[in-house]
Symmetry: C2
Subunit: 422 residues, 2 copies
């Protein structure tokens, strides 16, 4: 494959770096640094409009389905069955990087340009589409991959619509406020059934490709992971007038728990456990908190080990709370088993991308949710910092273009080999 | 004294409970419970308008000085020198109670009604005023009693104007956005010089009056206290892809510090040390924090002991940060020595209010800042819950009226005894 993206070979002249530059000012976070683009925020809605404009410019047929997934179609025969689909997401964690999500979307647009330049319609009538999923990060409503979970029925509409953001707004209210209709949310077998294969390109969230000195990898698996919310309830009071002996301070219990989480996770090889979000209520300097909510993220290749570690954390939470005269409750917000991507599809992509290593990831993705329903695969693009979910997340322009070229090769292979061949 | 407030004896017909009922819907916090009325928020500005309307209804002459302190004057001779001043504040901590601040303002209005009904103008031409101070809690810009500190010169205008709220808005910007003029902020000897005596009525923030079975007390002292901001800086990264051994997680260091603060404070008799506010950045569930800011509130009757405890906390912060591969810095945001109110004024008030016990408080107040410049005193009203800075903060209607009656008696005494008699 020789065409250089962003040159005459691409009908639009767009490069991945150029596309990302267009959205570089959307959703910047002046306090945290990086980007804050929570689902259904002005920033995320602006990014959706940007994507829809680019899809329109390419003559793709755009639809937004009842779960808020945007689809941009090229269907030469009119049929959207057994389609080859790529895509990612546009929402971010608070203060996240520029690449997690948007790199996959921008690469999909450029890959479609490369395919258009090759005029495959003589070789295949198989449809292709770019899908953009909402709330992949779960950074606003707490459940990651919410769009793909709704589509596949992995979460019920009742539970999803009742999820609340930090301001107390439900997902149902947020949908209504932005023109959505909560009544239509839920499992969508028709939408899911059209996907013949799904390939998600993503910036790598570690240093695997840096260490191997390669620009692009094929994904092998996603570490099992889950999120639990711990609520420690004590007695709020004045910081000056309440003696130390009279306190029931949930902040101290929560702090003891955070320390215990590190100790317990260090005791389990390959486990990762994190408290990155902690909210004291009311949160005043001169006020003993009445309640502290904290969120626990736990990951391990073996699901039983993950759940065992979570039970140890639960016991530690109850112990710490009791010691401070408080109470603690713990509720699962989401749990995903370790995902092994389809080995046959993985090996096909390796054959199309000679030299691309195979890497596992500790990060969750919509491809991991779809994988139980359709053949799914991932491509990773080198991240020189190894950092993700932070402003230092990065991909060199040349690596981003190499990623789009690899994605185009993968899509072309899937589009032109025998239908239903997976 | 026999007139019953809220009856024909009060020219306005207002009672303390009735006045507080008028503002019961302003600034309610649906998430935390109670009230969030930060300085210069819509809620606090609405409360200022409410106060100004009530002052106008009483024929008081209202001015807002260059530090944002509202004054409502009754000056029968035209002179505002050597005035007897009462007042409090209208801002609240996040999720605070209904009484901390507004009780003193509402009681001042009713006390002025009682004085008006007595027609003291034949006995004295001494002016009286109600003063409402901004940002007493320091809940938005971090420095408590900001209005009185500016007026007295206890904080420089440069430092005050550069203070930032949690959204990064400076005090200067917030003033400009609400019609204030930052250029005029700063020490105001003329305004301060008019105060002949200051009496602040406040809801008690403990159970002293409950235990003594009395409705109203005279204040003796305010515990020395200060606030320090601790910033722990680590390396933000993805919660799933970063091994436990590779982390430099500031949340764990901050948690170790919170645990240490309790342990250190318990080792110092009479000390109170609190972390009620803690903010991880970026604060995502699936993100290892890059930075954690937390605020330390420390109080002790002996200032040297307070500062010694703070140094122990600083050492603990540095140790915990180093242990996690992070760094910690600690900066004083405010410090106030233990305040003993004027003993002569206190004894005069006790004589006017027979049976009122004398109580110390652990909470800071504008009266404590003014005390170094003018004779100042406080009255406390019984709080059956003993809780403050939380929705459970309370005063019974009858106690609130008793407080206004006591305040009127104190003001009448000060107005009618020999001028400059203090």
């Amino acid at each position: 494959m020789t065409p250089s993206p962003g040159t005459a070979a691409s009908p639009t002249g767009d490069s991945v770096a150029g596309l990302l530059a267009e959205i570089a000012d959307i959703g910047r976070d002046p306090v945290r640094g990086g980007y804050s683009r929570p689902v259904l925020s002005t920033a995320e809605l602006d990014l959706r409009e940007w994507f829809i404009a680019h899809a329109g410019k390419r003559g793709l047929d755009v639809e937004t389905d009842r779960n808020g997934v945007i689809w941009a179609w090229h269907a030469p025969s009119g049929s959207r069955e057994d389609a080859v689909v790529t895509g990612s997401h546009l929402d971010s964690v608070p203060g996240g990087g520029a690449y997690d999500g948007p790199l996959g979307v921008a690469s999909a647009l450029v890959a479609f340009d490369l395919l258009a330049a090759r005029d495959l319609d003589g070789d295949t009538t198989r449809a292709r589409a770019i899908a953009v999923f909402p709330e992949e990060e779960g950074s606003r409503f707490g459940v990651a991959c919410l769009g793909s979970r709704l589509m596949t029925g992995a979460i019920t509409p009742e539970r999803a619509l009742a999820l609340k953001d930090p301001d107390g707004t439900t997902y149902a209210d947020a949908l209504r406020a932005t023109g959505g209709d909560p009544r239509h949310v839920g499992a969508d077998r028709a939408a899911l059934g059209r996907i013949g294969a799904f390939v998600e390109l993503h910036v790598e969230q570690g240093r695997g490709l840096v260490d191997l000195d390669r620009p692009v990898a094929v994904g092998s698996s996603i570490l099992g992971h889950g999120r639990w919310r711990v609520t420690v309830t004590g007695v709020g009071n004045h910081a000056g007038t309440t003696l130390m002996a009279d306190r029931r301070d949930p902040m101290v219990a929560a702090a003891q728990l955070v320390v215990a989480v590190q100790r317990l996770a260090r005791g389990v090889p390959d486990a990762r456990a994190t408290v990155g979000r902690l909210v004291p209520t009311p949160g005043g300097t001169n006020v003993i908190a009445s309640r502290v909510d904290l969120w626990l993220d736990v990951r391990h290749p073996d699901d039983a080990t993950t759940l065992g570690l979570v039970e140890q954390v639960r016991a530690a939470a109850e112990l710490a709370a009791a010691e401070q005269g408080c109470t603690a409750t713990m509720a699962e917000e989401s749990f995903s088993s370790t995902v092994d991507f389809d080995p046959a599809l993985r090996d096909e992509l390796r054959a199309v991308l000679p030299g691309a290593p195979v890497l596992a990831t500790g990060a969750g993705h919509d491809a991991g949710v779809l994988k139980d329903h359709v053949p799914a695969a991932m491509l990773f693009v080198r991240n020189p910092s190894g950092v993700s979910h932070a402003p230092d997340e990065h991909a060199e322009d040349a690596d981003a273009e190499a990623g789009a070229v690899a994605l185009a090769a993968a899509l072309e292979h899937l589009l032109t080999r025998g239908k239903r061949g997976l």
